[in-house]
Structure formats: C-alpha cells, structure tokens
C-alpha cells in the first residue's frame, strides 16, 4: 500500500471516502477470500495463494493499490475478516455479482478464475446447497443463513479488507468521529447514545449512554476508555471476529467514547490467544495514527486520543471489569468489590469506561445513522442487534447477527438450519458457562436482556451452544462447572470453595454415586454462591446448575434414584452385553477391547466380563452385527 496522507480536516476525509468508495464499490471484479480464524484454519490462506497464482498466470490485470488510478478497472483480490458461516469455509465471495463459494480448495482456483472471473459464469459445484432440498444458492443474500440475519456490527466483516483503513473509510468509517468532533459536544454524543437504547454487549446489559454520562460527569483530569476484548466463554468468538474483521469500527468507537467522557487514553485488553486479532488491531492503530484519526491532534483538532494494547494471559475472570483493570495495572487479575465503580475509580484510580468490543463497534453506526434508526431494530428495552456465536449440534455453526428479540426458534431453525442428523433439540446453553439453559418450551422466547433474565438465563456475551436429544443435562452442568471452577480466581470464599464442592457433587452424580440429599445440598450451594459471591463470575457460576435443576430435575433424580442416565451418556450407568443370538463369534470385538474383557472362542457367542469392562464402547463400535447391547 502506498503511504497514507494525514487527514487534517473533515473535507479531506470526505474526499478520501469518495475516492475509495468509487473504487471499492465499482463494477470492477472483486474477489474476497475469508481470512477469519475459521476459514484460515481450513486453509483459506492457500486458497488465496492459488487464486493469486491463477490470476497472474493468465495475466489478468490485478489491482495492487486501492487508489492507484492506473488500476481502476483491475481485478482486486483481498482477504476479509470472518464471514460468519464458518461451517462451510473456506469462503470466497466474488463481487459485484456477490457469488458465494463454499468449501473452496486451492485446486478450485483455476476454474474460478476462468469461469467466474473471465467468463462471469457461476460454478454450481462451489455454491452452498440447502441441506434438505439440495437447492444451490448462487448469491450470499439468497442463503437462508444470511437471509434471516440483520447485520449492523458484522456488515463489513467478511467484506472489507481489515488491513486497509481506506476500505473502512470508503464505507463511511470515521465519519461519525469527524461529525462529532466538529459538530457535536460530548453531551450531545452521550445523549444520542443514550437515546439509541444501546446496552452493554458483554453480558451485563448496562445502558451504555448512562455509563458514559456517569463517567463524563465525574471530575478528573485523567480518564480512560478500556475496550474489553477478553472474550473467554467456551465456543464464543464474536469479539474475536469483529476485531479481526473490522478493527477500525472498534477504534472509532473508543475514540468517540474518549471524546464523550473526556479521556485521552484507551486500552484494548485482548486475549493473547487471539494472535490474529492482536495483529489486526495493532496494525489498525498504526494506520489510524498515521492518518491522524488517532493519536495527537485528531483530524487537525486539539483532541488527542491514544490507544494501547494489553494482551491478557488467558484468565477468564479478567473479563470481569475490575479484574481486567487490575491486570492492566500489572496486578494479580482478581476482582475487587464495587463500589467504587470503574466510572468513579477505575484504571489507576481514574474514572474509566469499560465497554465490550461489540458495544464499541456499534457506536459509529449509531452516531452516523441516528438513535432512531438504531431503535428501529430490536424491541422496546433491548434495541439494536446482537451477535451470537452458534455452535454445537446445529446444522449451520458460525457467527450470526439478529435483531434483539428474535425468538430462539427462529435462531435455531431459520438461521441455524435446525439440528444435525435430524435429531430433536433438547437444550440451548446461552451465555456460556455463566448462562443458563433454554429448552423446547422457550422456542418462542424473544432473545433479549429482560426476557432471558426472566427465565433465569442471560444474553451473556453471545455464546449459543445447541444440544440435541442425546445430551445428558447433569453432564452439561458438570462440564460448565469444571470450567468455572478452574477459572475462579480464588479470592472470595463462596466462589473458590463453592464451585469446587458443586463440581465434586456433580462428578459424584455422573459417576453413579449420588444420593438424593446431594441434590438439595447442590441446590443450596448454588443459590448461596449466586447470592453471596464477590464478582460476576461467582454470581453466575451456579447458573448452569440452577437452570438444569429447574428444567431437568428428573434427570438428576434418575441418576441418583434409578441409577440410570436417561440420555445414555454417563458411562457409569451403561452396561454392555452381547446378544448371543446375534453374535457369530468373529472375535472382532474381543480384539478391540482395550482391557481384554471379552471372552469366547471363534464361532461361539462371546461374553463381556462386567468386572473388567470400562464401558468405553469400543465393542459396540466394532460389531458389524449389532450384537453388542447397551443398556
């Protein structure tokens, strides 16, 4: 990329936007290879290289720089951030037609170049096909997964090149910043954010405008803006994708927050386990500083705002804002009691706004399009959209964005495409290990802050783990408790000791040693830890236990009273035996058995020694005659 020229007044930004947009959204061919973490892991890097080689081999004019006039009509080939549909990656989009190719391999490059790029002919083989009907969809917008979404935060993810600030500017990036600095006061900015109804997307759901207003009003020479990118829920990758796919939206949100509250310094606290996100945000900071949209004298004004990156070392609890602040300060990452709230005494004791990545990414859009526009999405108390990472036993795993208040059923069946393998939905764990489980009775429940809270669950950061009928709910509770127990910082008594004891009881139950009174002890513990813990981690750690007890108490009882696992998942309750009538005595199962528990000579029915059997299921998998019985 050529050297960037400093943008020292709003008109210069307007000019650059017009130039960049004219090229980016022109009729010239544009190939976008998804460079999100999912596609990247599936080999999208090699796909990009193969496409580049195929283009060069055929001497097609290739655009090297976005704004090089000599290359105006040339073909562009860039990476983008996450496209969301991770299930079918690597994904290649070809604009302006918006052909959408899935599961692309390097070997497909030549065909793509020749047919689609040179002949404008879509390749049916590479299109996404409906799971049920087999119907192919040529364009992105036709695919049900996308059709039922509303993309505000994610609209540029999967489209623009996150490494080129001009592509963000082309799509009205930093326009809200210019407008705010030149035409708005901090008060009117805060007012607009308040009116938009935006609430914290990190899980708490606190109104963002109110938080800004409190921090704005606290007197203090030095204030801070902190971007919480310590996304730690298992199976959640919303913030990661936004940082990787559209880092400038987050930076612009932070600068706007700084302007609103009167801060001149900000931190992005991001997990070190997100190397690509760290790289992209670091690069974005450099670029923004180079063009004076960040750093000293932004857009030629007297307003300065500096952003630093702090890489977290992988402690889940550092997503809690006071622990996060302690971590930035170089202290042990442990929460401290509130008050004082960060707005009063946060980073180094100064007034601090801590906002989540997705919250900040929404800010430029809100200020650009107005609070009313934003409120037109979502519902009364939960405005706008929410990004969810949807995983588990669902057809379309990936990253989705839907208006707040979309029902669980629509998310699972319309966007998510239903349950894998034609099985039945059993539960959806929402909000990660701090969240709760929803069941088929909640299919019509609107996914918003208050509706979810009313059923003992939470939006959380946006993890949605879908589980089918074969799921044991006690095991699910045990799994999540293992996570929170190992992620407890160990400071407050109830969380440190309580999560460990809950885990012990759950382990005892799935191992078949549970007693009826264990359930009441578990419930008492869970309620006490919820009521009495110091921080959000402890207060929400019992949620998986409490919600499974609420909706699936009979499964707990089956484990402790009947000594059986209704889902047939807990090994302790399984019994493997051989149906003598079906067994032909082939010895296959005996050879697979890791503990030599299966006896019987060739052509004689075999027998499993129950004392030796470790219930691993190897015999069941090995038998071709379905002679191994599980019960």
């Amino acid at each position: 990329m050529t050297t960037l020229t400093p943008i020292l007044h709003p008109e210069a930004l307007d000019t650059l936007r017009e130039q960049a947009s004219a090229v980016l959204d022109s009729d010239a061919l544009r190939v976008v290879v998804c460079g999100g973490t999912g596609c990247n892991s599936n080999g999208s890097g090699a796909v990009y290289e193969a496409l580049l080689a195929a283009v060069e081999e055929r001497d097609l004019p290739l655009r090297v720089d976005l704004l090089d006039e000599a290359e105006m009509d040339a073909l562009s080939l860039t990476f983008s951030g996450c496209s969301g549909f991770c299930e079918v990656g690597p994904i290649v989009r070809i604009l302006p037609e918006d052909y959408f190719y899935v599961r692309v391999k390097p070997a497909d490059a030549a065909e793509i170049v020749e047919k689609t790029l040179m002949g404008n002919e879509p390749i049916q083989r590479l299109m996404y096909k409906d799971r049920h009907s087999g119907e192919p969809y040529a364009r992105r917008g036709d695919i049900p997964f996308y059709r039922h979404q509303v993309n505000i935060t994610l609209d540029d993810c999967g489209l623009i090149d996150p490494a080129d600030i001009r592509q963000y500017i082309a799509h009205s990036g930093y326009k809200a910043l210019a407008d705010s600095l030149f035409n708005q006061t901090p008060e009117t900015v805060i007012d607009e954010v308040t009116k938009s109804g935006l609430r914290g997307r990190g899980g708490g759901g606190f109104p963002t405008g109110v938080k800004w207003n409190i921090t704005h009003k606290v007197r203090g020479e030095k204030k801070y803006v902190v971007c919480n990118a310590d996304e730690g829920d298992p199976g959640a990758f919303m913030d990661r994708s936004v940082l990787e796919g559209n880092p400038h939206a987050v930076l612009e949100g932070m600068v706007l927050a700084g302007y609103a509250i009167g801060a001149d310094e900000g931190y992005v606290y991001v997990r070190a386990e997100y190397p690509l996100a760290v790289r992209r945000i670091r690069h974005a900071i450099q670029q923004a500083e180079e063009v004076h949209l960040l750093g000293d004298g932004i857009l030629g004004t007297a307003f300065s705002f500096h952003i630093k990156i702090k890489e977290g070392a992988g402690a889940f609890v550092c997503g809690e804002e006071t622990a996060l602040i302690a971590s930035i300060e170089g202290q042990r990452g442990m929460p401290r009691p509130k008050p004082p709230f960060p707005a009063q005494g946060g980073l180094w004791g100064r007034p601090t706004v801590v906002n989540n990545v997705e919250t900040l990414a929404n800010i430029p859009k809100i200020l650009r399009n107005g609070a009313e526009w934003y409120r037109s999405f979502g519902n009364e108390k939960s405005a706008g959209t929410k990004v969810f990472a949807i995983t588990g036993d669902i057809v379309n795993t990936g990253l989705i964005e839907v208006p707040m208040g979309t029902t669980l059923g629509d998310v699972v069946y319309k966007v998510g495409g239903g349950i894998r393998g034609g099985k039945q939905l059993k539960t959806v764990q929402i909000g990660g290990p701090s969240g709760g489980c929803l069941t088929t009775q909640h299919l019509d429940l609107p996914l918003d802050y208050d509706s979810l809270r009313s059923v003992g669950a939470m939006v959380g950061s946006g993890g949605l783990v879908v589980m089918d009928e074969d799921t044991c709910m006690v095991e699910v509770a045990r799994f999540f408790m293992t996570f929170t127990q190992s992620e407890s910082c160990g400071k407050c008594v109830l969380c440190r000791e309580g999560t460990k004891r809950m885990l012990e009881i759950l382990e005892k139950i799935v191992a078949g040693n549970g007693k009826v009174e264990d359930i009441s002890t578990l419930e008492e513990l869970a309620e006490t830890v919820r009521d009495g813990s110091l921080c959000g981690l402890g207060k929400t750690a019992p949620n998986p236990v409490l919600s499974t007890l609420k909706h699936f108490r009979d499964e707990y009882l089956a484990h402790v009273v009947d000594k059986r696992c209704p889902a047939g998942q807990c090994a302790a309750f399984l019994n493997y035996s051989i149906d003598a009538a079906k067994c032909k005595g082939c010895r296959l199962c005996g050879k697979k058995c890791p503990v030599d528990a299966i006896t019987g000579s060739v052509k004689e029915p075999h027998l499993i020694d129950q004392e030796k059997c470790i219930k691993c299921g190897a015999c069941f998998d090995a038998c071709r005659l379905n002679a191994v019985l599980v019960g």
Binding site: T499, L525, D531
Partner: protein, 681 residues
C-alpha cells in the same frame, strides 16, 4: 425520618463519617462477623461474612458499601445467615481442623464464628492435609493447612509494613499464600515483625512457641535463670487476666515469674535507660560534628533488618547502640555472674518481649560471646501468658512484688520506650535537661506522643534547633526514607518502630492486638512513666553506678565493646560465589560473572560458558579463576563481568572475544599464537 440516619434492623443509627456500612452496623451494636475487614487495611471483600440485605440494593457486602442517608438494611435474614453459615462450612471443610491441639484454640476466629453461628455439620469431604510447616525463621510459624485465604497477612505486610513478603499464588481452589517462589520465610525479606501473626484470624501464622525450652531451662537446677521484662510487656500481659494497670501488672508478673522458677526478675527498662544515655551521647557528638545525620534509632530489630536489606546506604546513620535487650544481655552475661556469685556458664538470660523479631535479634551471630548468645531465650508476651496458664497461677490474685536490683531499677524514660515516640522522648529528656532534677516537671514532650504514623518536632539542644521525626509502621518508615534520600527531609534524629504504635503493638503481644488495644497499652505506659521517681534516664542511679563500676563513661571504649554493634548489607548475596574454575596460580586473573536473574536473562550463562571454552582452547584456563556470582547491582548494564575487581558491562556472549583480547589476555601476558601480524610489525 431524619435525613442523616440509616435504619439497621429497624433501629435508626446516625451517620457520623463512617467509611462503610459495616462500621455503622457495628456502631449500632451488631457484631457483624468478618475475616477480611480491618479498619487499618484496604477493603478486600473476600470473606462474604458481612453481607446484609439493603432495601433497593439487595444483598451487599457492607465492608465496601458507603453508607447513604435513608438506607434501610437488615443484617440477619434467611439469605444472609445462609451465606455466612455456608461460607463457614466451606472454610471448615477445607481446613485441617486440629482445633484441640492448635495453638490458636480458643482464639481462632474461624472456630469462634462457626460456634457462634451454629455450624454443626460439614457436608463436604475434607482433603488430606499434610502439615508442611514453615519453621524456617526463629520467630514465626506458617501452617498453610490452616489458612483461610482472607489475605489479612498479605495486606498487612504490604500496606502497613511496606514489604509485601507474602502474596497469593495459584488460582481458584489452588490458591495459596506464599513468599516469593514458595521460598521459606527465612530466605525472603521478612523482618519477622509478626504483624501478620497479629492479624491472622486462624492458626496459619503463629509465634514460634519456645515455652518448652523455657521450662527445660527452669527445671535445670544447675542454671540460674534471670528474666528481663521489656517495657511494653507490662501494658499487655495482664489483659488476659483482667489486670490493665501496667505498674500493677509488672508487679504481678514479677511474682508470677518467681513462681515459675526464675531466679531473678529484672527490667529491660534499665537497659533502655542505658541505651538512652549511650544513644543520646552519640547523637550529641554527631550533632556537634554534623556527621552521619540524621541518626536513626536502632532499638527495633525489624527496622534494623529492614534498613540492612532496603536502605544499606544509610547503615552508617543508624545508631551503633545495641537494643536494650542486647545491652542487657551483654551486661548481664559479663557482670551478673560476679554479682550473683554464680558461674558464668550457669547464668541463663531469658527475655520477655512484646516482639517476635527479638527472637531473630537474639540469634544474630554478633550478639554471642564465644558462641554463647548474650540472650539465651526470648519469650513473647503470648508465651509467658501461656506458661502462667500452664502453671495454673491465678495472675489476678497475685500480690505485686518488687523487681530485683540492680537491673530492676528503671526511670520513666525507660518505660515509655515501649510506645512510639518513647525513645525520642527519652533522648530529648536527656539532651535538653541533662541530669538536673529541677527540670523534672517540664519533662513531657507531647509532640512525639500518640498513634500518628509520622510525628515531627523541633527542639533546641545546645542552642541548635534539632529536627526530629518519629515513625511507626515500616511503610511510614519507607516513605520517610525516600524523602530523606531525595533530600526533601532534613531531620537530625529519627525514631523508627516497625509496628504501629511501637512495641506495645508488637507481633508477640496477646490478641486482640488491634489499634484499640494498642491505644489502651500506650496510655498504660505513660501512666507508669508519670509515677516513677526518676523520669530522665540519666537519673537512674544504677545506670550511673554501672558507668562507675564497669563502663567508664558514655561511649567509652568499654561501653562500645559491650553496648554497641555494627550492621551489614543484606540486599545482595554479592559475597556468595560459585567456583566454576578455581585457579591456584599466584598470577591468576580473577573473573566473576554475574548469573543473577537480570544478567542471566541477558545471556550471562552463555557468556560464562563461552569464556571457559575459549580459555580451555587457548590453554590458559589454569590461570583463570572463574566464579559465578549473584549481583553487582549493575542490572541495567548486564551481563556484568568483574575482572580483578573492575566491573565490565554488557558482556553478552558475542562480546566475550573482545573482553578476552583486550582485558584478560594482556593481564595474563598472553600473546595469541595464531594472529595475523601487521605487515610492518
């Protein structure tokens, strides 16, 4: 409703500057239980015992909640009681629970609260406990199996004492309180002040119990066991028995000690008077020459160790006077055998101290004569109380007895040594009044009294204005030292006591050892001072006699030999080296390579190896004495290498060749065999 009230359990309580709701609730007469709340430490919020239900706010920990007018709260509800009981049950389930044999039995807050709140069952399985005690220091014992992770010791050590010797390590269930890298306490910068012991709610940190050793000495009929009792002990020893008057308690203690079998009971205050005379004389000399000012007091062993490890550049400024305990020990061991008519080896000196660090001080090698320590055993106030209890002595019923002479004679100045400001006041009395008894009535120096962390005063001595500072608590001392270092403070004399309040709040004092108890003890000492016949140390007739008989005059050569000491730099282990390649060649070159953390990370280990490899290859390794050493305090310039006493910086492995050619080889007189010669050479 009155706008300045909070309703606690239906009762209106007036707000009066309380920092948090917890203080307010306690003011309302409700003993809300806590483990991790201490008014002098930062708010921690971990024990969850103080949760209350607040109208409109739900369940809240009251320690961190600022009170607001109109607040309505209930302290004991179904939920709060359940939380408290559950927290206790959980703590007990992860606690070794050897209560009957625990030294904290009866004084343990975990035990008391579990009893009080009616925890009668522990439903969770106990893990196996291996008692890995840390008994590395002479003063303290750590038992991790009893730790409830309230963090009181961590914050006490860091916030009040400015040390941070203890901190948390591990996460979740695996959290433990540890010294750095899990090292024993003796190997870290612990000054053994024992303030962690005073604040620990359980038996995880206790005073090292040496009562059995005391009994052995007392049983031994061949020994003459004499006791010296420190000033601050009299203010606290009676608390357990309901005797709060310090003078009375001292008399009863003398009676109790004789019943326990001590042959003589003396007063460390006598030695404090001696200290005042020696230290005052030393100060007046320094003041006259202007050298080594400010003069720092040296009575407090924890402060002395702290200065040795943290402010070694100021060791010359410390008074060279031994502490009263050690002056007593030296004097007693030298002259008491003759006075009492016993053999030297039969005399045993036991001191009764408010202080844990005194155990460490008595064990310092410089305070031993021919291998025998001047003070044979140090018992804390806590330990002597135990012995009195073990012997079944009804302390309160004892008739007070007089102390033995000559070392039982004291002045008021020697008594107030036990409170912060006392040493300074004793020196001021001496310096400003001389020994003129007429001045006895204007002898009080109120500026240096009281519990403030830093007190300053100015007095005129020999027509010169003397600036004086008194600090207590090592964090306060640290801040003062930083100001002295930066030149922001120009004191002439500084009294430092490590513990808040001075020795009356020492780590060996009975529990509770909180600020309220310390204030009460402080008053008790000044009450004792007021009733003494003599209040200026110089007036002590037996001190005067000691000079006549044994010590010549203050700061004399004899006095120096017996009553003064010297200090050593503890910061670095610069003198400890590891011989890598020892050379016995008379013309050897001595090379020391720093392998301390800073230099190691910059590659000093490779520097060392490369140097040795090359020396081997070039055939002069037998003339090179190579040692690995720990720190030259040149970390910024690391890797550091010292060659024949001269320090070289930035000797990375790549720089070894140059150093060898330019420094080492010329010293060895070594000429490279294969070196290209300049054409004209």
């Amino acid at each position: 409703m009155n706008s300045n009230h909070v309703t606690v359990d239906g009762v209106q309580v007036e707000l009066n500057g309380e920092r948090n709701v917890l203080e307010l609730v306690r003011k309302a007469g409700i003993d809300l239980p806590t483990f991790c709340y201490h008014s002098e430490l930062s708010i921690y919020g971990a024990c969850r015992m103080c949760v209350c239900e607040i109208e409109g706010k739900g369940l809240q920990a009251t320690c961190s909640l600022p009170p607001e007018p109109g607040m309505v709260l209930r302290t004991t509800t179904e939920k709060t009681l359940r939380i408290r009981r559950m927290a206790l049950e959980l703590l007990l389930s992860n606690h070794c629970g050897d209560c009957p044999t625990c030294s904290k039995n009866g004084q343990c807050r975990l035990q008391t609260l579990a009893q009080q709140l009616g925890v009668r069952e522990i439903r969770f399985p106990k893990p196996e406990f291996t008692h890995e005690l840390d008994e590395s220091t002479p003063s303290l014992v750590r038992d991790p199996g009893k730790c409830i992770l309230c963090g009181d010791c961590v914050r006490m050590c860091r916030e009040v004492q400015g040390l941070g010797v203890l901190d948390f390590s591990g996460r979740g269930w695996d959290v433990t309180v540890n010294a750095a890298f899990g090292k024993p306490m003796a190997e870290v910068e612990c000054v053994q002040c024992g303030q962690c012991v005073s604040t620990c709610p359980t038996g995880a940190l206790t005073v090292k119990n040496e009562t059995n050793r005391a009994w052995e000495l007392l049983y031994d009929t061949g020994k003459t066991v004499v006791a010296q009792v420190a000033p601050a002990v009299r203010a606290a020893v009676g608390e357990t028995f309901g005797v709060l008057d310090g003078e009375v308690a001292m008399g009863k203690l003398a009676a109790a000690l004789r019943r326990l079998g001590f042959n003589k009971v003396y007063d460390t205050s006598f030695a404090a008077d001696l200290t005042t005379v020696e230290e005052g004389t030393e100060f007046l000399k320094r003041l006259a020459t202007g050298e080594r000012l400010p003069q720092f007091t040296s009575c407090c062993p924890a402060w002395v160790k702290y200065a040795e490890q943290s402010f070694p550049d100021y060791l010359d400024n410390l008074s060279t006077c031994r502490s009263p305990q050690q002056m007593f020990g030296a004097l007693a061991k030298k002259h008491l055998p003759d006075e009492l008519g016993v053999a030297s080896e039969a005399l045993v000196v036991v001191s009764i101290m408010p202080c844990t660090a005194k155990k460490f001080e008595a064990a310092r090698p410089e305070f031993a004569t021919e291998g025998t320590p001047d003070v044979d055993l140090v018992l804390t106030t806590q330990e002597i109380i135990r012995m009195i209890e073990q012997a079944g002595i009804r302390f309160a019923d004892l008739a007070p007895e007089a102390l033995d002479m000559p070392f039982g004679m004291k002045t008021g100045a020697g008594v107030i040594f036990g409170a912060t400001g006392g040493v300074a006041e004793a020196v001021l009395r001496l310096a400003t009044l001389g020994s003129d008894p007429k001045n006895r009535n204007s002898i009080d120096f109120h500026d240096v009294r009281g519990m403030d962390g830093l007190k300053e005063a100015q007095v005129t001595v020999n027509d010169r204005v003397v600036k004086l500072a008194v600090v207590n608590g090592l964090e306060n001392a640290r801040q003062l030292m930083e100001r002295v270092k930066s030149g922001d403070s120009d004191y002439d004399i500084v009294e430092v006591m490590s513990c808040r309040g001075g020795c009356i709040g020492g780590g060996g004092q009975p529990l509770p050892n909180d600020m309220a108890a310390r204030e009460r003890r402080r008053k008790a000492l000044y009450d004792c001072d007021r009733v003494q016949a003599f209040r200026n140390a110089a007036d002590n007739p037996f001190v005067q006699e000691a000079y006549r008989k044994w010590l010549d005059e203050p700061n004399s050569h004899t006095a120096h030999e017996l009553l003064h000491t010297s200090y050593s730099h503890r910061r670095r282990r610069a003198n400890e080296t590891i011989g890598v390649n020892e050379s016995h060649d008379p013309n050897m070159v001595a090379v020391k390579v720093c392998v301390g953390t800073g230099c190691y990370l910059k590659g000093s280990y490779d520097t060392l190896h490369r140097l040795m490899d090359q020396a081997d290859r070039l055939g002069y390794s037998d003339r090179l004495d190579v040692r690995a050493t720990f720190c030259f305090e040149n970390c910024g310039g690391g890797p550091s290498v010292e060659i024949d006493g001269e320090l070289y910086s930035h000797v990375t492995p790549d720089a070894v060749n140059r150093l060898r050619e330019e420094v080492i080889e010329p010293k060895l007189g070594y000429t490279p065999l294969v070196k290209e010669k300049a054409p004209n050479a």
